[in-house]
């Protein structure tokens, strides 16, 4: 990079959002900060003066941010704004957020971009409904760093006592949300006191000015230790290469890394990172970079799958719990279907359980009535129509948060609080798009120390049509001709002469007189076409939409093909 830009290139940039109840002075604080630090272009203040003269409205610094005619006419911020600002120390993106309840969705849009937040509180009025609701949203958005501005100190005679009471009240409320207050500043935005320079009126304040407080916030860097998460955004085929593109949301990716793609669990190596210009060619990319990756296997990959390292893969689930906030005009309802978008993945979903409905401004429980209203917060259990790869929000923010689309608009957001991984697929059968999991050829043993049944994990590949399968092992023996009924995937695999014959979905399968074995290697007691239909009817009754479950134990015989070994350790 060019020398001249050296200092610029290494300068840090922090994104800060100003939140709080309507009229507590967020826009004025920002306007004052810009004005007193000389950041405004020439004529900006003159323009506001002119507009207030033309319209007969009083001069307001907030107009620097509230650019819409409607905003100026009503004296409120409707939508969020971002602007750039710099101190001697570093660069900032300052985000102004509306404080009106009606526009919480816009506050969230602004705050979701920020790395740290200021809560602006009117000294005279103290914490109000939206102050608290905003704090709650900051917690849900994962913003750990928050700071307090006690504004309008001129209205309380610059009272130190009022300031301290406000700080304590805010600290208490924030801590109940798990948020820490890193710094607090008393000021008057209107009079420009303690914004960029200390003020005699606030001589009792031995803490920082607003400008100093800004610079005292810490930017949290990306950890190189974080697990790799590269959600596939698209698969390019502009030439004969298949290129996976996406943004590295966490961790790093480098050439020759071994990777796994979830859901599915296919593994491969990173061959190269592609670029247009030779000088952009690189062998490694870090969090935040938009990359184009060529991998060693020509898999059929799709948008929404996540590339990670094998050791720390995301969870693959079709059901999870989350904390959600709702911004939709019509309430969120249990049992209605929504589109869920999580990083680049999408799935239809349904809210199957709704609990802990709370008023997001008081944190008091609300009576749950099967719906979550405008601006409310709830804990929910979500069932997905298809499996997605995801993380707990506490472990990886970018792949642990999602939005819900109602009708055509994003109407809710949420963070994953609980999800249980499905067992990893280690072995199975593939044929084109059809895929079935099985543990048929895994050795089972009885652990004498723990007195439990265990299986020996082996990395058996997928068997394709025509592949031979290992018919006998130390703990099992199968015939040369039989049908494997894989209930989880609703697929039957025919084994003919020790080779994989064909894969067919349950609906297309006809009983041919060969023995039936389930995916674990236990005999299925089906001896005729009639038995098969009976079993299927039973399954239809017990299976719900989300999960395909196996048959009742009465259909199984555990002692035909398997013989459980006794052992002390898995390597026996």
């Amino acid at each position: 990079m060019n020398n001249q830009n050296k200092s610029f290139q290494t300068r840090e940039k922090l994104k800060l959002v100003f939140t709080g109840h309507v009229d507590h002075g967020k826009s004025t604080v920002i306007g004052r900060l810009l004005l007193d630090s000389g950041a405004l272009p020439q004529g900006a203040v003159d323009k506001i003066r002119r507009v207030s003269a033309e319209t007969g409205r009083p001069f307001e610094l907030a107009y620097l941010l509230d650019a819409f005619e409607e905003e100026q006419a009503q004296g409120i911020t409707i939508d969020t704004t971002q602007l750039q600002f710099k101190t001697a120390f570093r660069d900032y993106v300052i985000i102004d957020a509306p404080g009106h309840k009606e526009f919480l969705k816009n506050m969230i849009s602004g705050a979701s971009d920020a790395e740290a937040a200021f809560l602006v509180v009117d000294a005279e009025r103290g914490l109000e409904e939206q102050s608290k609701r905003h704090a709650h949203m900051l917690a849900l958005l994962g913003l750990q760093q928050s700071a307090l501005i006690v504004n309008k100190m001129d209205l309380v005679g610059f009272s130190q006592q009022v300031y301290q009471q406000t700080v304590e009240a805010a600290r208490y409320f924030l801590s109940s949300l798990g948020l820490k207050l890193s710094v607090a500043v008393p000021l008057s935005a209107l009079m420009g006191l303690n914004v960029t320079v200390k003020a005699p009126e606030l001589s009792w304040h031995d803490g920082p000015t607003l400008l100093e407080a800004l610079d005292s916030l810490k930017k949290s860097g990306h950890s190189h230790e974080a697990p790799l998460r590269l959600p596939i955004q698209d698969v390019f085929k502009f030439d004969d290469r298949r290129v996976l593109v996406g943004r590295v949301e966490s961790g790093q990716i480098a050439v020759s890394d071994s990777i796994v793609i979830s859901p599915g669990g296919k593994t491969a190596q990173v061959v190269s990172l592609a670029s247009w210009l030779p000088r952009d060619q690189k062998t490694k990319a870090e969090t935040g970079e938009s990359v184009a990756v060529i991998i060693s296997e020509d898999f059929f990959n799709r948008r929404g799958e996540i590339v990670s390292r094998i050791e720390r893969a995301p969870k693959t689930v079709n059901r999870f719990r989350a904390s959600i906030f709702w911004m939709g005009r019509r309430p969120l309802k249990a049992e209605r279907r929504y589109k869920l978008k999580l990083s680049t993945a999408e799935s239809e979903c349904e809210i199957v359980k709704l609990f802990n409905l709370i008023d997001s401004s008081t944190l008091k429980p609300l009576q749950a009535q099967g719906e979550v209203g405008f601006n409310e917060v709830a804990e929910v259990e979500i069932s997905l129509q298809k499996e997605l790869a995801l993380d707990l929000f506490s472990q990886c923010q970018a792949t642990g948060r999602f939005v819900l689309v109602d009708d055509l608009d994003v109407a809710g957001g949420g963070i994953v609080t609980w999800a249980e991984d499905k067992p990893q697929v280690k072995a199975g059968f593939v044929h084109g798009e059809l895929k079935a999991r099985c543990e048929l050829f895994q050795e089972y043993f009885y652990d004498l120390d723990r007195m439990t049944f265990n299986k020996i994990e082996s990395s058996v590949p997928f068997y394709a049509v025509g592949d031979p399968v290992p018919l006998s092992g130390e703990s099992y023996l199968y015939p040369e001709f039989f049908d494997i009924v894989i209930f989880r995937d609703q697929i039957v695999v025919k084994i003919r002469d020790g080779l994989v014959g064909a894969l067919s979905p349950f609906s297309e399968y006809r009983y041919e007189g060969y023995p039936l074995v389930n995916g674990r290697g236990f005999a299925v007691k089906v001896n005729s076409e009639d038995d098969w239909l009976k079993l299927n009817n039973e399954l239809l009754l017990i299976n719900n939409r989300e999960r395909a479950v196996g048959p009742d134990e009465k259909w199984l015989d555990f002692n035909v093909y398997r013989r459980i070994r006794l052992g002390r350790d898995r390597h026996l």
Binding site: F68, G288, V403, G413
Partner: protein, 266 residues
Amino acid sequence: MNHLQALEAYSIFILREAYKKLGRLGLLWSIGKDSTVLLWLTKKAFLGHCPFPFVHVDTSYKIPEMIIHRDKVAKEMDLELIVHQNVLALESGMGPDKGRLICCKALKTDALNEVTKKYGFDGLIVGVRRDEEGSRSKERIFSERNQDDEWDYANQPPELWGQFKTEFPRGHHIRVHPLLQWSEIDIWRYVENEGIELIDLYFAKNGQRYRSLGCAPCTGKIESQATSVSQIINELENTSVSERAGRAQDQEDAYAMQKLRRDGYM
């Protein structure tokens, strides 16, 4: 990653998102520095390809060098170029003498809306930035326009966590803004780092240069000695005049841009 690399990475993410999620796409190309950076980012996003057409709304009042430059770059870069004019308005003598905002509306807004309809664009990529002026500072990255190309700015849906507005009724379209979070000086620093070639109207001749390019009758030059990109950066670091001060239509009325943009102006 430094600040410019972060901006580049995010813009590439946005472009790829638009390409994947919106149907028919066009990139609004005005020959200036922002659209040229957009072209560059497009090449980076799509590994040297430009998988959508570039659209130039030609008011016929553009500074003549811009048209020459446009055709030259389109040929060199092998762009699929769509040039569109509001022929009816031009035939009836539309021009800035009819009133600046009326002229902008007819030759830019209406022409843009015509070409959007004509080609059935679901997405239009536009190089506007938040720091240009007030109504743009309030924009979303994916911003919906209705069947009449209007922007319902007072009621924008939430946009968070890189989840953009990609569901919309037929006949509506999305304005995609990959440069929204860039500032004027970011653009110039990027131009410098990447060695991007720009039209020479930006560089001072006889003590004057253009800071923002538009139609000849309504775009003023600024006093400047800057003849290179690094001199321009230096000049911008020390100026307190806003970028669009030389654009007459912005100065017409306090909310001129808001009104133009409500009706579909870029």
